[in-house]
Point group: D2
């Protein structure tokens, strides 16, 4: 009989936590152990989120010790910075997939530069594996801590990966849906305006930049990154203008991604094609010698967060990489 | 030479205040005297709202005394309850058009019942004229205080007015855009969900009910009122199922509204036909004897607020009722 | 080992066909036999719909005979009227779940009245079972032909079912997303206007009416039905004002639906809670004696079409009713 | 007394024609002479477009001769190619503002290359003035034929104009609302998908490219232009990554545009700030030496079409450039 995993979600009440739950419900070999939230001691999840009122599951504020001990894998859907202590507390007692930014970067200095706070566990930083399955599949299989990539970051990396090391400069314009801002209302997600607005923010200082340049093998100065908020709920659509180095010999992206079940290289990318699913769609157009237009799309909550995390879980436990994910086809239209 | 009016907006930074400004900019005989906001002492309006950065206008926290003295008319775009003191302070010194709910009802008791706070100026309540031009045009012309109707309330009243006094029962389902919730973000206007949601609230206890039943000449028990939030920015679309009294002799709604420049009786109402304009569109369908389906639409910020206020201003100063409003045709598509 | 079913979709390229495919992909005991479309002889489905480009499935124009012979169950996602001949051709050779309107009504006369064309197979009409699992579960289990309900119709029936036979009159206002109009562009689904529009159509003549009144046990004259198009992609949100007969003894809706896995009776219905899932959410509010406000929501493509069809398939083959459907939780936000 | 103009719109029933009418209604010195459409001989405009049912205006199929003779100015809101004959027929008899692409380019060869049809009146091509008031104000004042710019084209030109002649290369990603596709429904504007989609099209072959490179003083090879359709009705939001030539001495964009009433240079551009108005908002950010990010937004139907046309009309007739346009403030939110 197939192995069954006990999985817990710490911080289930945010959008990432909810999406993890949606994914895990679809997974044939997972049982939910704990769904925790500090704000909600022992509440039926349907009382907090009526769209889940059919589930007989409670949200609790169970302590980390217990959660770790009774779970094969724990997903942390916590805010950045808050996640660090939890990872430290659970490390070694269970497998951890951390959705926060706390263990995505290699060195504490870069972390401090971008997140404006020192990293408290630089040693753990070294131990964590960056959870981009298309780049670090083998390392993820053996990891005890996986740091799930940022949503913008994973998309940009998958777009640029085939050209990594051969890029002279790249300009990226990336548009994200409002679910990327999380469940807390704010000025930027106020419907009357967001409903028909487009606006860029954090140009060239966005926190996902260090993840992108590490994979693309470029410096900050070689990248322009323009994150933009768009009038839709789910997904990121990005366009990259890539200049490659003189004499660069570029591989065929379609071939590179052939063995990666959730990356689809196609003629034209459209945001609506990936909503609700774990797919990342990519297109590559040569404009002239050394001049490329690369486009990509993924669902920020799925491949950009919870779906990628489940993909990592599958790898960490020797399951089929697509298990529980391929049943969630894009919700179209 | 035509008379010019000095107009001020107290509380300009909310959506109703901003919309008033949009209307007044289009008015050929109005000069802006003061735009006030307690939170913003002497700030260029473009600093607060970049969409108005071309205007050479400052928002100030000028005291009521000065505003009243130097304005022919003052629009109050203040929260309910806050408006009362301002009306009292300015009364007699300038003409007042109050956009809040504070002077819409006839008696202090009903006010207290629906707004959960005693009315502090019951005498002024008697003096204020209810600003529905299609019902109280002559009284508005002579009024010193006009209480601008609620957005749901005006729509429902215009729908039911032709049948007033002859209604046995009426059920109204009314859907509003998110701008009706004002500029402050909240759970109900959080874009990720609002973007594709429909949800009713305050069923049969909404504060606009007393305005509706007064005009329709019915009791609370004869009305079901289901306000509903919809996934769009502007406008209210309402459907009323009307049962009339036995033997009711109903007039032709189209004839009743022929002399009212901003009410259009038509075959089929569509929300998109009125956005940005001061029109209220209505349709009347007889289903069977004594059984009618009435539909209506207006822009909650225009005919449901700022546009109706300017219409009232025109009446109060003997100007053409449509002045400055008819130039603002529906923004279609 | 569990039974595996060979399922085919005739007319896969419409929205209902695509949604069926999304559901069947998630079903653990179904293999796709044929996906057919007259317009597309032997085309990879990813060429027609890039969101499915990861699937190794071809769309073919295989003849009905072959499809029927090699399938345990055939879903017909064909236009009304076209489906009749296909049902007749396949009848007896395979189990049929017909998504069209052709076999929903009991008698040919009503069909002709509402669909303006004679019914060619009145005998088959008698054989087909109406596919509302919450009403005809036992009959569906033994059926050879199941006629899947209309999307508006199923929602209204589930709302009214607890009060069936005790209703004096009911007024329904129901708002549908644009996916209900199918994949062919038209004036009513033109984005520039639909994006912020609300408009009613086919008031009291909509084709789903006979299904509703049959279940509610009322006459056409006792129902007002106002279908309305709304500015969103998926879902129907309906409000019913119900007057019950004098002395009616109404059951508790929550109890009635306790044994029905996809109906959730809750305090407040919200459209966003059901998108992408097979749930139908319902709320019941008593306003006064004999006066009720009932609200409901479902995803028109899932519980209103493909999901309900899969639920029917499960029943017809003795599978767990929720199999393959409960893994598809609402896509929220 | 002020001069009054008789203005006609040929092809009033498209979105550009309708928007022209919205603008002209707000213009204090314009009277409508003719509103024509070949498809609609003598129909009240309210029968075609209920949002205009309050207007006492008929759409007619009056011949060009009559329209020209009885109008001071004629706006052509015709499809590309169709406009050519009308311009030729009316030329010299009235002033013409052509909204089509037919007279935007300087030479017939480029026209034929991009529009895949020979230009029939190359001589008239020389006579027409390109209607970008910020570039050709003085020429427009004396023109008999004004060719109104393309919507994408005007935005890109205003973004690049300050750097014209000093650009090494530029990559533009521009997202347009669905109203840019006109009133005819099509696959690309089908609401169920468009509602949450982003998709690029005509990359580097879009017809507005020759207008852009002429003003920017670059070759096709120096530009990447990625037009993209977005899930909103009105507006274009564009991001340009500009590399300037070595040693380029760039002027201050804010200073250049100080004297242009409808261009606002600001810190951050947001689409919602310009909807419904004639403003073009621009922002300029220096990233590093020779490396700039320029963003811009305008309403494709206003500054990108009808508003710019009225601005041109004002210039052609010696009126205040902002007349009838400054009363139309952005519709916010």
């Amino acid at each position: 009989m197939a192995q069954r995993l006990k999985a817990s979600i710490v911080g289930v009440t945010g959008y990432t936590g909810l999406e993890l739950l949606r994914m895990l419900i679809a997974h044939p070999q997972v049982d939910i152990a704990y769904l925790t939230s500090r704000q909600n001691p022992n509440t039926p999840i349907g009382d907090l989120y009526p769209h889940l009122s059919h589930l007989k599951l409670n949200v609790t504020d169970t302590d980390h010790e217990t959660v770790a001990k009774e779970s094969d894998v724990v997903f942390l859907a916590l805010p950045h910075k808050t996640a660090q202590d939890t990872v430290a507390a659970m490390h070694g007692k269970t497998k951890i997939i951390d959705m926060s930014a706390d263990f995505r970067l290699d060195d504490a200095k870069t972390y401090e530069k971008y997140y404006a706070t020192p990293h408290v566990y630089p040693d753990l930083l070294k131990e964590a594996v960056y959870g981009a399955p298309e780049i670090y599949r083998e390392q993820i299989k053996k990891a005890g801590i996986v740091a799930n990539p940022g949503c913008f970051a994973l998309l940009a990396q998958l777009m640029l990966l085939p050209y990594a090391g051969q890029i002279e400069s790249v300009d990226i314009m990336a548009i994200t849906g409002s679910s990327g801002s999380g469940k807390s209302p704010g000025e930027g997600t106020h419907h009357p305006v967001r409903n028909h607005n487009l606006k860029s923010y954090n140009i060239n200082i966005h926190r996902h930049i260090p993840e992108i340049i590490r994979t693309a093998k470029i410096t900050e100065g070689q990248l322009n990154f323009v994150p933009t908020s768009g009038p839709f709920t789910r997904g990121i659509f990005a366009t990259a203008f890539v200049r490659t180095k003189a004499g660069a010999a570029l591989p065929c992206a379609a071939e590179i991604y052939e063995s990666h079940p959730f990356v689809r290289v196609m003629e034209d990318v459209a945001l609506a094609n990936i909503v609700g699913s774990n797919f990342c769609d990519l297109s590559y157009k040569k404009v002239s010698d050394g001049n490329y237009i690369v486009q990509g799309a993924l669902d920020n909550l799925v491949k950009g967060a919870a779906g990628c995390a489940v993909q990592n879980m599958n790898l960490m436990f020797g399951l089929e990489e697509t298990l529980g994910l391929s049943v969630l086809a894009p919700v179209y239209p």
